[in-house]
Symmetry: C2
Subunit: 157 residues, 2 copies
């Protein structure tokens, strides 16, 4: 019965609301930042609950694996399909069928709409990592919908 | 692993966002209306998906039972605890442990905060009913958290 549907629909309406209420602003970027910030706080809250009874993480890679498996499954009901790293602080998380893009047509027609469906999730990952003590910059990339990649750049302190 | 957590956290942040972005407005009512409207559209979308393969509803009571069981379970992972009606178009749905109030302390201290945690759900029910052809007014009431009641008044056409 589509467990993740309420979350998806709420996410969609949040986007509509933010874009509608800022109709007069020419800056698309500000809306993306708002979505990213909301995602950040949701990510912080979620990871706190999810890691309540988890053993301590061994290292950065261990943290990333937790994000790709447990965290992703909690939010999107599937795991990340592919995790790559250059072992120097850059991680690429690939989701071949990203749920929040699922309602958009797969063609190139709506490709320019994709960033606003990904901003929240960039924040989500950044917030989760932040609460695990890992400061990062998270960006997203879509070439063929509904697949997408999230690039995580760890900020060394 | 708390299936409904992403939805709950997103709902909380939506409230924060709407109340924060309207700091200068003295009117609390406008924010409640915004939340209610967002809930309305989420309700419309959800019920459409949930009733995709459902048999035709017999009558109004049949519709209300679907809202109390299937719809409520989809969104809040539990059923409504008690459904009452005066058989003249008024229905009272009681949830003894309403999820979206779960993070508020159960005392009376935060009772005045309750309406903003219920507005979205009032809209959710109104939107779902609306897409099933039932026009209604939905209000909420809390006496002891986290229990609450939703009153549905059917608008005869």
């Amino acid at each position: 019965m589509a467990d993740e549907a309420p979350f998806q629909f709420l996410h969609n309406e949040l986007i509509q609301y933010i874009y509608k209420s800022a109709e007069n602003e020419t800056e698309n970027g500000r809306n993306l930042t708002k979505l990213e910030n909301i995602g950040f706080r949701v990510g912080q809250g979620l990871i706190e609950r999810l890691t309540k009874d988890t053993a301590r993480f061994k290292d950065e890679l261990d943290v990333m694996k937790f994000i790709c498996k447990d965290f992703w499954t909690c939010v999107f009901k599937k795991q990340i399909d592919n995790l790559r790293t250059n072992h120097q602080g850059i991680y690429v998380l690939q989701d071949n069928k990203f749920r929040l893009l699922g309602q958009l047509s797969a063609g190139k027609q709506y490709l320019e709409q994709a960033p606003k469906y990904l901003a929240f999730t960039c924040g989500l990952v950044r917030g989760a990592l932040s609460n695990l003590g890992v400061k990062s910059i998270v960006t997203s990339e879509v070439s063929v919908m509904p697949a997408c990649k999230f690039q995580v750049m760890i900020q060394k302190l």
